[in-house]
């Protein structure tokens, strides 16, 4: 890792903004790091001062010593190489406003839910308590059956409380663009229901000051029963209905064409999008913009080739002439591509071989110390982090070269590599297990949090996002760098028939062709 010379700057954004912008800009600005911070590290490798891309997050984490550094709001540290333009300021304020707006909506929904919960729970209690408070003297005394009903009300309310807590008061995992239709319908249903019960109670019991207390208690019990049934309806509508797979969706990433297929049940488009995004973070290999540069340069070369002059003044013929001319031109770019790819493949394999050997050798230097030995020789004992730091230098160069060749160097910081090494040593993993995460790009979840680039996704859809998924519906999930194109197909109705095979029916004959001499 190169030794730095100058101070640098970092610009942090809040979580509600796309963090891609910050990453790309910081990568461009970043030349080298402060000398003081480097001296704390025990590793000193002097490689030529090429692009110091692996050192990014290492120093970032040193400067801001808290775990959620990605979540902190805007902060500018040190002197800036580039000045903040007016655009940046406008963008920052807009993002702050957006984030405030989102939180507002979340709290609003939360307070509404809590209010409704309180209303629902206090209603039966109120039904039971109000007669005692208002016309105590006229009221019939509560007999045995009535007191039994008290217990029933109490336990049913307890069950309802637990069930509602389990189903509704889970941490929200996403902010969807439109309101969740089923939840809204259920809320309206509950509200109407409770209001109608209050209406009846108010008119027939409060006004007339009914003395039959047992009837009132039974009325309260019927309310709680009906609430439990509404909760059952909620479970079926919100959770169970979409479990049965109904649609097969095909998700394609627009930049590199990665395709995955998932099975989803009957969901609205926004909920389907949410399910797909959760799968995206686990299944799709991380988006690596460095791999797309080659095809872009080829495309640029194609466009730069011909100059077309419009003689007749007809627009159509110009484009057609251009395409025809391009087709006729003797183009050797396919040749270049072939040899370039072959060369790259060879280079990658060579570096990989060197890396594997270096890592295996490094791992042989570290041995887990047994319990008995620990008491005997407390001399050179190291904890996993120190052991990792000790063996890291021998494999660092090979690893860095390999990551550069496969254009993954910005995904892994030195700190994260050392952490992973310490983790592998602690868990007795082999060198191959340690290397697996570097040899091929893994899912986005595998990388450090600053690579979970967008938590802000835009759903682009021709149909309304609260309408259900249909056969052939297409929508887009856009984030700052790329978009995911989703098409859905209905899973066909499967007609299965049965064929019985008697186990005794398995008989065989030999097919012979013998030759006899006579």
């Amino acid at each position: 890792w190169p030794s730095p010379l100058l101070l640098y700057t970092e610009l942090y954004y809040s979580t509600h903004d796309s963090e891609v912008g910050s990453l790309e800009r910081s990568r461009d600005r970043h030349k080298s790091r402060s000398k003081d911070s480097r001296s704390e590290k025990s590793v000193t490798i002097n490689t030529p001062p090429a692009e110091p891309l692996l050192g990014d997050s290492a120093v970032r984490s040193e400067q801001v010593q808290d775990d959620n550094w990605g979540e902190t709001t805007t902060a500018v540290t040190g002197t800036s190489e580039h000045s903040l333009s007016q655009e940046d300021i406008v963008r920052i304020t807009k993002d702050l406003e957006d984030s405030v707006g989102l939180d507002c909506r979340r709290y609003f929904t939360l307070t509404l839910a809590v209010l409704m919960g309180l209303l629902v729970f206090l209603t039966p209690v109120a039904f039971l308590a109000l007669p005692h408070l208002l016309w105590q003297d006229k009221l019939q005394s509560c007999g045995t059956a009535c007191e039994g009903l008290y217990i029933s009300v109490a336990f049913k309310l307890l069950i309802l409380l637990l069930a509602v807590w389990a189903l509704f008061f889970r941490p929200p995992r996403a902010g969807l663009p439109r309101v969740f239709v089923f939840r809204a319908l259920l809320a309206v249903l509950v509200l109407l229901f409770v209001l109608s019960y209050w209406l009846f109670y108010g008119v027939r019991i409060l006004d007339s000051q009914d003395e039959n207390y047992q009837g009132i208690v039974q009325y309260a019990v019927s309310l709680v029963d009906a609430l439990l049934f509404i909760h059952y309806l909620a479970i079926v509508l919100l959770e169970l209905r979409q479990l049965q797979p109904c649609f097969s969706v095909c998700v394609t990433r627009s930049t590199d064409g990665e395709i995955r297929h998932y099975n989803l049940g009957q969901l609205s488009i926004q909920r389907a999008a949410l399910a797909i995004l959760e799968h995206y973070y686990c299944d799709f290999p991380v988006h690596n913009p460095a791999l797309l540069s080659a095809s872009k340069s080829r495309a640029a070369k194609h466009l730069a080739g011909l100059k077309v002059y419009n003689v007749d003044g007809m627009a159509h013929s110009q484009s057609r002439a251009m395409i025809a001319a391009a087709a006729r031109r003797r183009d050797t770019s396919h040749n270049e591509l072939y040899y370039e790819e072959a060369e790259h493949e060879r280079r990658v394999r060579k570096r990989r071989a060197r890396l594997v050997v270096a890592v295996e050798e490094a791992f042989t230097h570290v041995k887990r110390m047994q319990e008995e030995e620990q008491k005997k020789a407390p001399g050179d004992v190291m904890d996993p982090r120190e052991a990792a730091q000790a063996i890291f230098p021998s494999m660092a160069r090979a690893l860095q070269k390999y990551l550069r060749t496969t254009k993954q160097q910005h995904c892994h910081s030195m700190e994260s590599i050392q952490q992973h090494l310490a983790f592998c040593i602690t868990n007795n993993m082999t060198p191959k297990a340690f290397l697996e995460s570097y040899l091929s790009p893994g899912p986005t979840l595998q990388y450090s949090r600053d690579h979970w680039l967008s938590r802000q996704w835009t759903l682009v859809s021709e149909a309304s996002v609260t309408s259900g998924l249909k056969d052939g519906s297409v929508f887009l999930l856009k984030c700052a760098d790329f978009s995911l194109v989703v098409t859905s197909k209905k899973i066909p109705y499967i007609q299965m028939s049965e064929e019985y095979i008697d186990p005794k029916s398995h008989k065989f004959v030999l097919r012979l062709q013998s030759e006899t001499s006579v």
Partner: protein, 130 residues
């Protein structure tokens, strides 16, 4: 050689007479047979129709009695001494050819070149066996 199920089989045949050669204790003819109704007709390299379960000559000892008599590899044996060989098991065919009290076997064999020769001659009166 046409084979229509239910219809008599017609073929152009050649009459071959082989004198058995005494070789020690055995009388040998000098060829090998393959095929039969209990065998797998699909593996027969000589038959045109791969469902034909007839008896075919698979090998001829050069210089042996069969070779001298004019038998060729790939011939289908239709009759042996008057006994039918088109619908027999492999073992039965072997037994018919190796009877110890017979010195001579008179075979009726057919091959594709016979039919072609008849067609080419155009006027030859073929001997048919049904």
């Amino acid at each position: 050689m046409s084979f229509i199920p239910g219809q008599p089989v017609t073929a152009v045949v050649q009459r071959i007479e082989i004198m058995k050669l005494r070789h020690g204790d055995n009388l040998i003819l000098g060829f090998s047979i393959g095929g039969g109704i209990d065998q797998d007709p699909g593996q027969n390299p000589f038959s045109e129709d791969k469902t034909d379960k007839g008896i075919y000559v698979t090998r001829i000892t050069p210089g042996g009695p069969a070779h001298d008599a004019g038998l060729r590899m790939g011939d289908k044996i239709m009759q042996v001494n008057g006994w039918d060989m088109t619908v027999v098991t492999h073992d039965k065919a072997r037994k018919r050819l190796t009877k110890k009290d017979e010195d001579v076997v008179r075979l009726l064999v057919t091959r594709k070149s016979l039919e072609q020769a008849v067609k080419q001659s155009m006027g030859g009166c073929p001997q048919t066996v049904t």
